[in-house]
């Protein structure tokens, strides 16, 4: 492949478009972590006693745990005492009731990101529970959801208003002792979203949250809990961009999904946090635990993710297919460029009879990036007739990048059908030549081929996300051709 080196240079050196810091007074705790901090977070959030106990239990367990090292990523040791575990915009007690009351600076931030909150929310019919530095500041379309009986609110509000649901479901999918980062999150999580869809309700709109990391040196610890009761349906969208930072920021979120009988949850993510500069300086550490539990028969959980950001991604959205005929899906596009590292994949645990799962993972590695697909498909002895199909393809762009695949398959039932396919290749000269022959520039041709490569996943995304994802992909790969 031949590309004008100067042109390539300029594209590679493109700065992160979404890098800016909004200057809002933040109410932060001093850096460091001990029981006092955990108690302080709980006190600031005016949480009931049971939450504090749960946090402390998690914190004490976390102290006994070792940071995992098995992932195919490298980063300097994190000092957990250097991180400030809480930061909230000032007006915590006096939350804005409508968009008009929202800090105009905040709205400006969203405008800069190209996400006009009010317009977009109205036009697209999307309720946005915008999480800005750990505390939710704006919630729209509340009424419409209220009418349907859907509960969609900040996590801290749910803890106070719906303690019975929190008690019942919190930690039931990702227990506080699950893994190092999940335990840390359980101890210090600041806020997040809570969704409850009652029996038989089809959520009238797509729910969406924008996560942003804003104040410097603040690890963001989100907690999301979505419960779809019998026969309900919800589609949840999560998207994130973050301002430019030189110091690495730790993000250890936990997402728990519960799907009861005949329920369906569709969870889509577009992740575009600051990936660090060309030399790997800065960038977000994204260590996320996401898991869905198909608790009832005929339930379905579908994960779709487009991962283009973060310096390091460590993320395995999983499904526990407990119910009979339950369905788990995982569609992923991961793009790593420059010095980014990603170790991502999924786990499908088949327990219920005739449960089925589909995994489609598309990895694109460019520059000096390293990317791994790590997946587990486990069929338990009782999972009669379980079915899995896994396809993971990698596209390599450049001489110095890497693409790795670590698929684990553990099958304990003979009637199970498990298939795994993987290919790794680079963009073929023939395809490029064909496009260029027809007058398409090399850059456009590569974009087109890459978009085609990812099509299977993009078609799973909600429409407005699919558009954004395609644009994001083009931006992420600009300058990587060669």
């Amino acid at each position: 492949m031949s590309t004008d080196p100067n042109n390539l240079e300029s594209l590679v050196n493109r700065r992160y478009e979404h890098g800016f810091v909004t200057d809002i007074e933040a109410d932060s705790l001093p850096p460091g972590l001990d029981e006092g901090i955990v108690r302080a977070i709980s006190a600031i959030k005016k949480e009931p006693e049971f939450m504090l106990e749960w946090r402390l239990k998690a914190y004490r367990h976390w102290l006994t745990m070792q940071e995992p090292e098995w992932a195919h990523v490298h980063y300097p040791q994190i000092n957990y005492q250097d991180i400030s575990y809480f930061s909230a915009p000032k007006s915590d007690s006096d939350r804005p009731k409508s968009l008009d009351e929202v800090d105009p600076k905040l709205l400006e931030t969203y405008d800069k990101l190209g996400i006009p909150l009010h317009e977009r929310a109205r036009l697209a019919g999307v309720a946005v529970d915008a999480v800005f530095d750990s505390v939710s500041v704006a919630t729209t379309f509340k009424e419409k959801l209220n009418d349907a009986g859907v509960i969609f609110c900040p996590f801290s509000e749910a803890v106070i208003k719906h303690p019975e649901l929190i008690k019942k479901y919190l930690g039931s999918v990702v227990p506080h002792r699950d893994n190092f980062f999940a335990a840390l999150n359980s101890a210090v999580f600041s806020d997040g979203s809570f969704v409850y869809i009652p029996k038989g309700v089809r959520c009238p709109m797509e729910l969406s949250t924008y996560f942003r990391i804003n104040a410097a040196n603040t690890g963001q610890f989100e907690r999301t809990l979505i419960i779809a009761d019998e026969g309900s349906y919800v589609s949840y969208l999560e998207g994130c961009t973050a301002p430019m930072r030189d110091e690495n920021q730790l993000h250890a979120a936990v997402v728990e999904l519960v799907a009861m009988k005949d329920a369906e949850i569709k969870y889509s993510t577009v992740q575009n946090w600051y990936p660090g500069d060309e030399d790997g300086k800065g960038g977000i550490y994204n260590f996320v635990t996401k898991r869905g539990d198909c608790r009832g028969d005929n339930s379905k959980i579908s994960w779709t993710q487009v991962e283009t950001g973060s310096a390091i991604t460590w993320k395995y959205p999983s499904c526990i297919l407990r119910g009979e005929n339950s369905v788990g899906e995982f569609y992923s596009v991961a793009v790593t460029n420059n010095m980014q590292q990603a170790d991502t994949g999924t786990k499908m645990i088949h327990i219920g009879k005739n449960s089925s799962s589909t995994i489609v993972s598309k990895g694109i590695s460019a520059g000096r990036a390293q990317q791994s697909y790590r997946g587990l498909v486990r069929v338990m002895p009782q999972a009669q007739g379980a079915r899995n199909h896994t396809q993971c393809d990698s596209l390599l762009i450049g001489k110095e990048c890497g693409a790795h695949t670590f698929p684990y398959m553990e099958v304990k039932n003979p009637s199970a059908k498990v298939e795994h396919e993987a290919t790794t290749s680079r963009i073929s000269e023939n395809q490029l030549f064909y496009c260029r022959q027809r007058g398409i520039s090399e850059e456009d041709a590569v974009n087109m081929i890459v978009n085609g490569f990812c099509k299977e996943v993009f078609k799973e995304l909600p429409m407005e996300f699919a558009v954004e994802a395609q644009a994001l992909l083009n931006v992420s790969l600009e300058g990587a051709v060669g």
Binding site: P381, H404, E410
Partner: protein, 426 residues
């Protein structure tokens, strides 16, 4: 200490007590190194599914026995075991009994065969715990060198027979394939009688430019036998390594096959078949490193599992930075015949170069219902139909056999084993 621990003091004492032959120095160094390493545990990723506690137990038993009787091994009562194999496979046979070379060394044009304890050896390789353990307690081994251009008319047969009255044995075979030589080797691993025993074996091959090495390994040991087998091959420019492994017996079998391509144009072919019944545990770990390109590798492992058996497949292909032009294909297919069998498979790819073509695939399933139905509509009984499809699944590996001389013998052994497998299932 964990359950899988070798008594280190005893080990050092035994190594000191061993004869002062040409291996003595290497043994002593390895014993000290092993004291730091110890046996692998299930906590290590590569040993996640395979527990070596029994092997360590048998190792300690052997060390005790060595101290008690001064290293005297009970001789294998091989009876007509040897003839049964030798009459079926036409080859130049060498017998390795309980880790000792126990036959006249064949005289073949262009081939030099020697005992390493007597004649010396090239440096013993392997830095992993089991290789180091092998070196520490190695009593003798076989060295085969093919002179440049040598193409023997018949394959070299290596018959490895262990007697379970000795709790443990270490075997080692070292191959040097000279430039443009073409060596064919059949390795047959058998037990002289029933009983528990641990064999730790190593097969090392070094292929010079343009050399071809065909290697077939047939393991049909006693059902209580425990073995850890390491095979490593280093390939230089335009060399070819073709390997077939057949794992039929043993209680616990662990195979590590490592091929390293260090020269352009080299190719590696790995084919494996494992048949497991009862409580058998068969673990195949393979690793192919494409150090340079263009080079090719092809790998296919098939398994049939019944009873409460458990099989593990971990295939790794690593394409090093700059190994452009690598073409690699890998697949693992498994047939589960019983409700309680378990397969853990993991085909891995680690790719650090971009001009490559790599694919891997894995499947797990049971007999195809429609295929069964098809045969039954043609008047075959269910049992008969099952046998035909199962055999067809296994027979694919016979068609890629690197050493044709062992085809008939293998086909018979396989059929016998398959019949057991299918019957045991009901």
């Amino acid at each position: 200490m964990s359950a899988t621990a070798i008594n280190q003091d005893m080990l050092l004492a035994v190594v000191e007590a061993m004869p002062g032959d040409k291996l003595a120095e290497a043994r002593r160094a390895a014993a000290f190194r092993f004291a730091e390493l110890g046996f692998p545990t299930v906590g290590q990723e590569d040993w996640k599914y395979t527990n070596l506690s029994v092997a360590a137990e048998l190792g300690n038993e052997w060390l005790d026995a060595y101290v008690a009787n001064g290293g005297q091994e009970s001789d294998s009562r091989t009876g007509n075991l040897i003839a049964a194999v030798q009459n079926r496979i036409d080859a130049y046979w060498i017998i390795l009994r309980d880790g000792f070379v126990d036959s006249n060394l064949p005289d073949v044009d262009g081939i030099r065969v020697s005992r390493i304890a007597e004649q010396g050896h090239r440096p013993l390789e392997g830095a992993d715990a089991m290789s180091v353990f092998n070196t520490a307690l190695l009593r003798d081994g076989l060295y085969v060198r093919a002179e440049p251009g040598a193409v023997p008319d018949k394959p070299i047969g290596i018959l490895i027979i262990d007697n379970p009255e000795n709790a443990m044995s270490q075997t080692r075979v070292m191959i040097d394939s000279g430039e443009n030589s073409h060596l064919r080797i059949v390795e047959c691993c058998l037990s002289s009688e029933a009983g528990r025993q641990f064999t730790n074996s190593i097969f090392e091959a070094d292929l010079a430019d343009g050399a071809t090495l065909d290697h077939v390994r047939i393991q049909n040991r006693d059902e209580a036998h425990v073995s850890v087998n390491k095979l490593s091959a280093k390939l230089r420019r335009d060399s070819n390594f073709n390997h077939n492994s057949f794992d039929l017996g043993g209680a616990l079998t662990r195979n590590d096959v490592n091929a390293e391509i260090t020269g352009e144009g080299a190719s590696v072919n790995l084919n494996g078949l494992y048949l497991a019944a009862g409580d058998q545990h068969i673990d195949n770990h393979t690793s192919i490193v494409h150090g340079v390109g263009p080079s090719t590798s092809e790998e296919e492992y098939r398994g049939i599992l019944s009873g409460r058996s458990r099989c593990v497949f971990n295939g790794k292909v690593i394409v090093s930075p700059g190994a452009d032009g690598t073409d690699s294909r890998q697949s693992n297919h498994n047939l589960l015949l019983s409700d309680r069998a378990e397969i853990d498979t993991k085909p891995e790819l680690e790719i650090y170069a971009d001009d490559v073509k790599c694919a891997h695939g894995a499947t797990v399933g049971q007999l195809d219902e429609t295929a069964l139905f098809y045969l039954r509509t043609r008047g075959l009984g269910l049992d008969h139909a099952r046998r035909i499809i199962t055999r067809a699944f296994a027979a694919g590996t016979l068609s890629t056999l690197a050493v044709a001389e062992c085809h008939d013998y293998l086909a018979d052994v396989l059929d016998q084993r398959l019949a057991n497998l299918i019957d045991a299932k009901q």
